[in-house]
C-alpha cells in the first residue's frame, strides 16, 4: 500500500517548545491508526503537523504525496480535521453550516442531508442554531461536516468526546466504512475501555516521538 503519511526524523516547534522530537512514522493508505499517550505526548501536534497547521522544522515530512516542507497547504483539500474544538459557527443553523462546509471543500451541497442523517442528527434539528445544541449534538454536526467532504485522510482528536454510546458505535462504523473505501484514518483517543476495535494499528507516543508501534515490523 502507498504511504499516506511519511514522517522521518521530524522535528516541529510550537513557539519555542519542541512538540515533535525526531518522529519517525509511516502510515499506509486504508490504515486506521489509534494514537495513544499521556497528555503532552505529541498526539495533537502530530495530527496538526499532518494537516500542515504546525510547520516542520527539520526532517522529511510527506502527506498524501505532498512535501510538507515545500507547501504545507497543498494536501489540505483532501484532509478532514476534527480537533478538540468543533469548528462550528454557533449562529448558523445546522444545515446551513454543513452546506457551507460542503461547498468550502468542493463537495456537493446536496450531500448535506445524507451526511446529517448518516451521523444521526435528526431532521428536527436541521433548522436550529448550532449554539442551542447540546455538546454531543454539536460534535455530531462537526462530524457531519467532515463526512460531507469525503476526505482521503481523516485526522481526529478525541472524536468520541461528548458522544453517547450509540453515537460512538455509529462513528466507529462510519470510520470503518471510510477505511474500506480507501480513506486513511488517524485518531487520538483516551477512551477507556479503549476504542481499538476499529483500529488496525495502535501507536503509543511520548515526548513528541513514537514509543511503541503495534504495526512496526
Amino acid at each position: 500500500m502507498s504511504a499516506v503519511v511519511e514522517f522521518e526524523k521530524v522535528v516541529a516547534v510550537a513557539g519555542s517548545f519542541p512538540v515533535l522530537t525526531g518522529l519517525d512514522l509511516r502510515v499506509a493508505q486504508g490504515e486506521v491508526v489509534l494514537l495513544r499517550g499521556e497528555n503532552g505526548a505529541g498526539k495533537t501536534s502530530f495530527l496538526r503537523s499532518c494537516a500542515g497547521l504546525i510547520s516542520v522544522s527539520s526532517g522529511d515530512a510527506h502527506v498524501l504525496g505532498f512535501d510538507m516542507r515545500v507547501d504545507r497547504r497543498a494536501p489540505r483539500r483532501y484532509i478532514g480535521l476534527l480537533g478538540h474544538e468543533n469548528n462550528l459557527y454557533r449562529d448558523l443553523w445546522v444545515r446551513e453550516h454543513v452546506e457551507f462546509r460542503a461547498a468550502a471543500v468542493g463537495a456537493a451541497e446536496s450531500d448535506t442531508d445524507a451526511a446529517l442523517l448518516r451521523v444521526g442528527v435528526p431532521k428536527q434539528l436541521w433548522s436550529v442554531p448550532i449554539g442551542s445544541l447540546s455538546a454531543g449534538q454539536r460534535r455530531k454536526v462537526a462530524i457531519a461536516s467532515l463526512v460531507v467532504g469525503r476526505p482521503r485522510l481523516w485526522l481526529l482528536d478525541e472524536p468520541h468526546a461528548s458522544l453517547d454510546s450509540e453515537s460512538r458505535e455509529n462513528l466507529d462504523v462510519i470510520l470503518a466504512e471510510a477505511s474500506q473505501l480507501g480513506a486513511t484514518i488517524i485518531f487520538a483517543s483516551h477512551e477507556s475501555p479503549p476504542t481499538n476495535g476499529i483500529a488496525s494499528r495502535v501507536i503509543t507516543m511520548g515526548g513528541g516521538r513514537v514509543l511503541e508501534d503495534s504495526g512496526a515490523s
Partner: protein, 222 residues
C-alpha cells in the same frame, strides 16, 4: 473565484443575519455616539452643520471597528480559524468574500447613521453624487483595511484591544478624506471633495492589492 468569494460573503452575512449584532447592537450604539456628540457640542446647530461630515465618519470609524472585530471573532470562536485554514477556498477569495460582507454591513451602518445625521444635525446635501461616491469609496477602504488588519490580529490573545489600536491609525486617513469629501458634498467647504474621494479609492486599491497577495500568508502565520 467569484463563486468562492460569494460563498464566503454569503456565509458571513448569514451569520450576522442570524446573530443580529450589526443592526441590533452596533448601529444603535453608533447612533448614540451621534446623539452624545450633539449633546457635547451643546446642540449648537451651526457648529453641528459644519462638523457633520467629520462626526459622521467618527461614528462610522467606531461602528466599523466593532464590525471588523466581530467578523474575525466568529472565525476564532470554537476553533473556526483551523477550518478556515483547512478549507479549499483560495486565500484571495477568502479576503474578497470577507471584505464584501463587511462592505454590506458597514454600508447598512452608514445608511442608519446618514439618517441620524440628517435628523439630528439638520444638514443639507448640495452634491448627492459626491456624497454617494465618497460613501462607497470610504466603505470599500474601511472593509479591505479591516479584513487585512483583522486577520493579522486574529490569532492573538489580546486581539480585542490590539485590533482597534492597529486599525485606528490605518483608518485615520480614510476618516480625514471622508470628512473633507462630505463637507464639500454638504456645502460647508468649497474644497476639492472629488480629490478626497479619489484618495479613498487609492487607499482601497493599495490595501486590496496587498490583501490579495498577502492574505494567505497572514492567515497561515496569524
Amino acid at each position: 473565484m467569484l463563486a468562492e468569494t460569494l460563498l464566503v460573503a454569503r456565509k458571513d452575512l448569514r451569520v450576522e443575519w442570524r446573530a443580529k449584532v450589526a443592526l441590533g447592537q452596533v448601529a444603535p450604539l453608533a447612533l448614540l455616539i451621534l446623539v452624545v456628540l450633539a449633546f457635547a457640542l451643546d446642540a449648537n446647530s451651526s457648529l453641528l452643520e459644519l462638523g457633520a461630515g467629520g462626526l459622521y465618519w467618527v461614528a462610522v470609524l467606531y461602528g466599523g471597528t466593532l464590525l471588523i472585530q466581530r467578523s474575525f471573532d466568529v472565525e476564532t470562536d470554537d476553533g473556526n480559524m483551523d477550518a478556515f485554514r483547512m478549507s479549499a477556498i483560495g486565500a484571495p477569495s477568502l479576503f474578497l468574500g470577507k471584505s464584501l460582507a463587511l462592505f454590506v454591513q458597514i454600508g447598512l451602518l452608514e445608511l442608519v447613521l446618514g439618517s441620524g445625521i440628517a435628523l439630528l444635525y439638520n444638514v443639507r446635501v448640495t452634491d448627492w453624487v459626491l456624497l454617494f461616491v465618497a460613501a462607497v469609496a470610504g466603505t470599500v477602504a474601511f472593509s479591505v483595511c479591516g479584513v487585512l488588519w483583522g486577520v493579522m490580529s486574529a490569532g492573538l490573545r489580546v486581539r480585542a484591544t490590539l485590533l482597534p489600536l492597529l486599525l485606528v491609525p490605518v483608518l485615520a486617513p480614510i476618516l480625514l478624506a471622508g470628512s473633507r469629501a462630505f463637507e464639500t458634498a454638504l456645502g460647508v467647504r468649497a474644497d476639492a471633495g472629488w480629490t478626497w474621494a479619489s484618495l479613498m479609492f487609492v487607499i482601497a486599491a493599495i490595501h486590496t492589492a496587498i490583501g490579495l497577495g498577502a492574505f494567505g500568508f497572514l492567515l497561515e502565520e496569524g
